[in-house]
């Protein structure tokens, strides 16, 4: 189907998961209303959640999850070598995600806590970009399928995609959600990257910053105003560290 007399290209896509819950992959297979045209707009070369076919000649690799075991390093390097474009999808791939919380503990102790007397191979959690070159990051826990659709459309016509530059506040206001800070909750919305359409505050939960910091976010003022409102440094630090997007800023 031509659009404005242009024939869209069908990006050859492989989807791969590392340490994660596979929820972002599931998001790719969600939004049934447009699932058929979505899968027509791309060529699925390797995506175990939607197809048993396992090809190796993909151009675009979508990577879910972080690197938390040494054996994952070789696998991601191999995918990087094959892919023309490597896209990190979800907070785990972009920042390490909730898995990154492990880094605050002694690895052996963490291993014992989780696996008891049957320890598994484990390493410090790293985001994909800390291991191989990443061409595009689609943050979110999980990713927003509608945003992915727009990105795929841009890939199909080889035009640039722009993420919103504003923080979550704009999206809360645009859906008439009362400010969570006004309600007395801690909320990272004023410094966190939008694009999710602010579902958490709409559901009564302050933002946890799963998409990481917004461009030009005002971290210093945020810390000042959060403390003024009575939130402890520990509480703020825990919130900032939850998805790993604010690593180095707490």
């Amino acid at each position: 189907m031509k659009y404005l007399r242009l024939e869209p290209k069908r990006p050859r896509i492989g989807v791969f998961d590392f340490t994660s819950c596979e929820g972002c992959e599931l998001q790719l297979a969600n939004h049934e209303e447009t699932l058929v045209p979505f899968l027509k707009a791309i060529e699925v070369v390797n995506f175990r959640e939607v197809s048993s076919y396992k090809g190796e000649d993909y151009d675009i690799a979508l990577i879910e999850g972080c690197i938390s075991r040494d054996d994952e390093v070789g696998r991601i390097e191999k995918i990087r070598a094959q892919a023309k474009v490597l896209v990190a999808i979800g907070s785990c791939a972009c920042f390490g995600g909730v898995n990154r919380l492990k880094n605050a503990y002694n690895l052996d102790e963490a291993n014992k806590e989780v696996y008891g007397d049957k320890p598994k191979s484990t390493a410090k959690v790293r985001a994909i970009k800390e291991v191989v070159k990443v061409d595009l990051e689609i943050p979110g826990c999980p990713i927003n399928k509608l945003e992915v659709e727009r990105i795929v459309q841009c890939l199909a016509f080889e035009v640039p995609f722009n993420f919103p530059v504003y923080p979550v506040c704009v999206e809360c206001k645009q859906r008439f959600t009362t400010c969570m800070m006004e309600k007395g909750q801690l909320c990272l919305g004023s410094i966190a990257q939008a694009g999710c359409n602010a579902p958490c505050p709409a559901g009564g939960l302050g933002c946890w910053g799963c998409r990481g910091p917004a461009p030009d976010h005002n971290f210093e003022e945020f810390m000042t105003l959060a403390k003024q409102r009575g939130f402890s440094e520990k509480e703020i630090s825990e919130r900032l560290g939850f998805f790993g997007g604010f690593e180095g800023r707490r």
């Binding site: 459309q153 007395g184 003022e221």
Partner: protein, 348 residues
């Protein structure tokens, strides 16, 4: 102006008549804030009881019913090498009950931008013309400074405007629509006592403003203090979150994006309100950003409110509702920013 009075019972009947054939929007209590104070929003109501006319302010302005945050400007479809476009203006009748004078004055300002210039916006005009507006006087909230910007009184831009006289409303009628609506209930002719009581209530309102902002000579002062350090001081606090513009009853800046369907057969042009405080507001093709700093963006926000708009329309864009000051997590508010600017002007 034509005036009548209406008992509260008759006003209720009037709203119920309006409800029969219109979507009705009114100030609704939607929760409480951290200090236990009520939060109101202009929302659709199904029953008269849902409207709380005693509200002080609303978190969002009723602007959204005239300039929605997101609006589909055009839908187009491609087929067999041809394309067709479908443009729809919102024409369904709607009534907004309980708008304060500041918000009606805000509409009058938007009218100047959207409805009267060489290129009126049919999207705005169709919504404006098909909205029946019932305004109401109120005692100013602590931070309201609408009086300082001449927006505490309104003489047009509405259909009916109520002033609460205790047992009855004093009603100003500003349209044939309003007149005809009042004819459906038992509106009374105004007596001398009614006029007297109305003027007494108005005088009380006019004397109860606690927050005052001097705006005389602001356009010149803004030019003189263009390089002032006070912009850095306030700019350093700004979160660039755009909340001020989102809740402002007169901010109208927007962007337009193309949303294409996943099967590439149709698309939409979608308008979305933007804010001059957002980092890409003055970014142009090629990547240059004319306002890369928070302080420059905040400064130009005040410039548009109190200088640019004055130059174009002989009045400030601000109506003194202080929603921006209330919503701002960093505490940036017009009375303090303007006072700071004036203090600079009096400096050495």
């Amino acid at each position: 102006m034509l005036f009548k009075t209406l008992t509260k019972k008759d006003f209720r009947s009037l709203v119920e008549i309006i409800l029969q054939s219109n979507e009705v929007i009114g100030p609704k209590k939607s929760g409480t804030n951290k200090d236990g104070n009520p939060i109101h929003k202009f929302l659709p109501v199904a029953k008269f009881e849902e409207i709380d006319l005693g509200y002080q302010t609303t978190e969002f302005s009723p602007k959204t019913y005239f300039l929605p945050y997101k609006e589909n400007l055009s839908t187009y479809r491609f087929e067999n090498g041809e394309w067709e476009q479908d443009i729809r203006y919102r024409i369904q009748p709607r009534a907004i009950i309980g708008m304060h004078a500041c918000d009606i004055n805000a509409l009058l300002k938007l009218d100047k931008v959207m409805a009267r210039d060489k290129f009126p916006s049919p999207y705005y005009v169709s919504r404006r013309r098909n909205t029946f507006i019932v305004g109401i006087d109120h005692e100013p909230a602590e931070k309201c400074f609408c009086q300082s910007v001449g927006a505490d009184t309104v003489t047009h831009g509405f259909d009916l405007f109520l002033t609460d006289l205790g047992d009855r409303y004093f009603v100003a009628i500003n349209s044939d629509r309003g007149f005809n609506a009042l004819a459906k209930v038992d509106a009374k002719l105004v007596t001398e006592k009614d006029s007297h009581d109305y003027l007494a209530v108005r005088a009380k309102i006019q004397n109860s403003f606690k927050t005052k902002v001097r705006i005389d000579n602001l356009p010149n002062l803004l030019d003189i203090e263009f390089e002032s350090d006070m912009w850095k001081k306030w700019g350093n606090k700004c979160l660039s979150c755009g909340s001020c513009a989102m809740v402002c009853p007169t901010c109208y800046c927007y962007g337009v994006a193309e949303h294409v369907s996943m099967d590439f057969t149709k698309g939409q042009k979608v308008k979305q309100l933007h804010s001059c405080n957002l980092v890409d507001f003055a970014e142009v093709a090629g990547g240059h950003n004319f306002r890369p700093t928070r302080s420059s963006r905040l400064k130009y926000r005040y410039y548009h409110q109190h200088r640019g708009f004055v130059e174009a329309y002989d009045e400030p864009k601000c109506v003194g509702c202080n929603r921006c000051g209330t919503v701002c997590l960093a505490g940036i508010n017009p009375p303090e920013v303007i006072a700071d600017l004036q203090a600079e002007g009096h400096g050495p």
